[in-house]
């Protein structure tokens, strides 16, 4: 086989066998990504880890959150987050946020934020990235802290007076913190 064909065959082998790492290391990667500064990526850098890493400045209380919930959330989640008639009938609908139910059996419809989520910071993360449904990322960080406080206080997880911020939210103890086990422990990073 002429040299060029052999080289081509070798390249083909490498890429087709998904030996991307070998391809990159041995033959030079395309390197078509552009470097980016922390400042330039700041607006996208929004995830909050379970331990609260990434929580921004700002704060809010349940009382503030109740007012925001009434104007921006209850249309879909029902008054006070207690579900629309459609949701309460068991049909697909925006989730019921506040519900006085106990976990029972395998029925996931009995899970709530208060009785189920293992960590509190992800609630801030989700409200900030995804809500309101028709206007995501329109809430200020203060409003997100306030809504987080409202939901946790209504669920009797925190005191109604607690001011939530980057320092207090990671300390919130969720009742079901130890209620989980990974289905495939061997897939979990060590």
């Amino acid at each position: 086989m002429p040299m060029r064909e052999r080289l081509f065959a070798a390249l083909l082998c490498l890429s087709l066998s998904a030996s991307a790492t070998a391809f990159a290391a041995g033959l030079g990667s395309p390197n078509l990504g552009k470097p980016v500064s922390s400042a330039d990526m700041a607006h996208w850098d929004i995830e909050i880890l379970a331990d609260g890493t990434g929580l921004p400045a700002g704060e809010g209380t349940a009382a503030q959150g109740a007012l925001i919930f009434a104007t921006k959330c209850s249309a879909c989640h029902g008054d006070g987050g207690r579900g629309t008639p459609q949701a309460l009938s068991g049909q697909p609908a925006p989730p019921i946020i506040i519900r006085d139910v106990q976990l029972k059996g395998i029925d996931a419809s009995r899970t709530t934020i208060a009785n189920y989520w293992p960590y509190a910071p992800p609630l801030f993360d989700y409200i900030r990235r995804a809500m309101p449904w028709n206007e995501p990322r329109s809430l200020s960080d203060h409003e997100v802290y306030a809504l987080t406080a409202y939901i946790l206080a209504e669920g009797k997880v925190i005191d109604t007076k607690l001011v939530l911020n980057a320092r207090t939210l990671p300390k919130v103890e969720m009742p079901n913190r130890n209620g989980f086990l990974p289905r495939f422990p061997e897939l979990m990073p060590h």
Binding site: A24, S29, V36, W44, I106, T111, H190
Partner: protein, 441 residues
């Protein structure tokens, strides 16, 4: 040259391998044309010419056809081959479309029929303005344009994508009467082409403190999932094409994360960001939605893997058998761990089993079509399939599954998700009239 037909002139010529008329799979091998003649017809009628009709020129053979569309769509006579929509009025909740397995064949789901779940509608993304960022625990954070990624060395592979909520109507304590599309339609398989994620991570330089990555979409909910970094270095792909064409908007245009074998929601669509992190985010999806409450107290979370599964697509509810005679039982098997190695089929509710033929080649973490010749004698039967993979995993019976994972106390709406990750055997009951219904056996 005389061509030997594998079709039996008499039913007894093909060995029965299991109860209620399951025949040895050799009756199928390499006889596709002949098999097509068998499907859904009584052999007796075909052989004797009963029901013969005079062959005539039809109108379409005597006139011009229609103009050629730039992008072709199915025949107007195949209008029923469509997805079912769970939120047709686009209410403020998730929109789901389900694949019509009972009307499809082979192992690739056409792009227009691939299942989709989108939580705030389908974003209409201009690829020229789309950016993909890799950052976090890397030496060099980098931003990629779509044009840049299209210049990278690519790989293609078939892979199924399955919602962690597929098949969950089978958690009901009584069999919900619904078709295979309603029960198992949140699973599809396509060939995807794209750039190995490991290649891009190499360019960024992985910080050894990274154990996980989060992947985030550019859709309204900015959907985010946490994934063990090992998956990125194994077989994760930034997919740009599906079945040879650019991704459909509902499937993530212009790019999505493909994590072969992992639950659909993790295969983040409209991918715009990957960040390497030391620990998981435990996002909404990981804290509540994709978890599995167990019968005794604890719940599984971070399940990720879709376990080995199979189901018969034909016959199936709505695809009745009508008259006694020969049929081909056809179905789909797949495993998130690897290749399907064996599918057994039963026509007597699991008392006896015969081995089905697997359509070659069998790909890892992809739909595998299985086929089984069957002679129905007109009596009630219960059809089942059970798959094995190359990791030694196999489908539990429903009784075994319920013993471990439980079942609901009451029948849920068919569209509800009351638990996740169901992979036990599905049973179809065929009554004496040939009508097929969902059963537990």
């Amino acid at each position: 040259m005389k061509r030997r037909s594998n079709l039996p002139d008499k039913p007894d010529e093909v060995e029965q391998v299991a109860g209620n008329g399951l025949l040895h799979r050799r009756a199928l091998l390499g006889r596709s044309a002949a098999i097509a003649g068998l499907v859904g017809t009584g052999l007796g009628a075909a052989a004797t010419g009963a029901g013969a009709e005079q062959l005539v020129e039809q109108p379409w053979s005597l006139q011009m056809g229609e103009d050629t569309p730039a992008y072709q769509t199915p025949s107007k006579f195949a209008k029923n081959v469509v997805r079912t929509l769970a939120n047709p009025k686009f209410e403020p909740r998730s929109s789901l479309s389900r694949t019509p397995h009972h009307l499809l064949e082979g192992t690739r789901t056409p792009n227009g029929l691939h299942f989709t779940i989108n939580h705030t509608g389908i974003p209409q993304i201009d690829p020229a303005a789309h950016r993909f960022l890799i950052h976090g625990l890397v030496k060099r954070p980098l931003v990629f344009t779509v044009d840049a990624l299209l210049k990278y060395p690519m790989i293609s592979r078939p892979a199924f994508v399955e919602c962690g909520g597929n098949s969950v109507p089978l958690f009901s304590p009584k069999p919900i009467q619904a078709d295979v599309q309603a029960l198992h339609g949140l699973s599809s398989c396509a060939e995807r082409t794209g750039v190995p994620l490991s290649l891009l991570l190499d360019e960024c330089g992985i910080d050894p403190r990274a154990k996980w990555f989060i992947a985030e979409g550019a859709d309204g909910p900015h959907l985010m999932r946490s994934v063990p970094l090992a998956k990125a270095l194994d077989d994760a792909m930034i997919a740009l094409y599906q079945n040879g064409e650019p991704l459909m908007p509902g499937n993530g245009f212009p790019m999505r994360l493909l994590l072969p074998g992992y639950e659909g929601n993790m295969n983040v669509k409209f991918l715009r960001r990957i960040k390497l992190v030391p620990s998981p985010a435990m996002s909404f999806w990981e804290s509540q939605v994709y978890t599995e409450p167990m019968p005794k107290g604890k719940s599984y979370n971070l399940t990720f893997l879709n376990e080995v599964k199979s189901f018969i697509t034909r016959p199936s509810p709505g695809q009745d058998v009508k008259t006694p005679g020969y049929y081909e039982i056809s179905g789909i098997a797949y495993s998130g761990k690897g290749k399907i190695t064996k599918v057994l089929v039963s026509a007597d509710g699991g008392k006896s089993w015969g081995e089905a033929a697997l359509q070659a080649p069998v790909y890892s973490k992809a739909f595998t079509r299985f086929r089984m010749p069957w002679r129905w004698d007109g009596r009630p039967v219960t059809l089942q399939s059970r798959a094995w993979d190359d990791h030694g995993s196999f489908q539990p019976t429903r009784a075994e599954f319920v013993a471990a994972r439980g079942q609901l106390d009451a029948v849920p709406p068919v569209v509800a998700f009351r638990n996740h990750h169901f992979n036990a055997i599905t049973s179809w009951a065929v009554d004496a009239r040939g009508k097929v219904s969902h059963a537990y056996a």
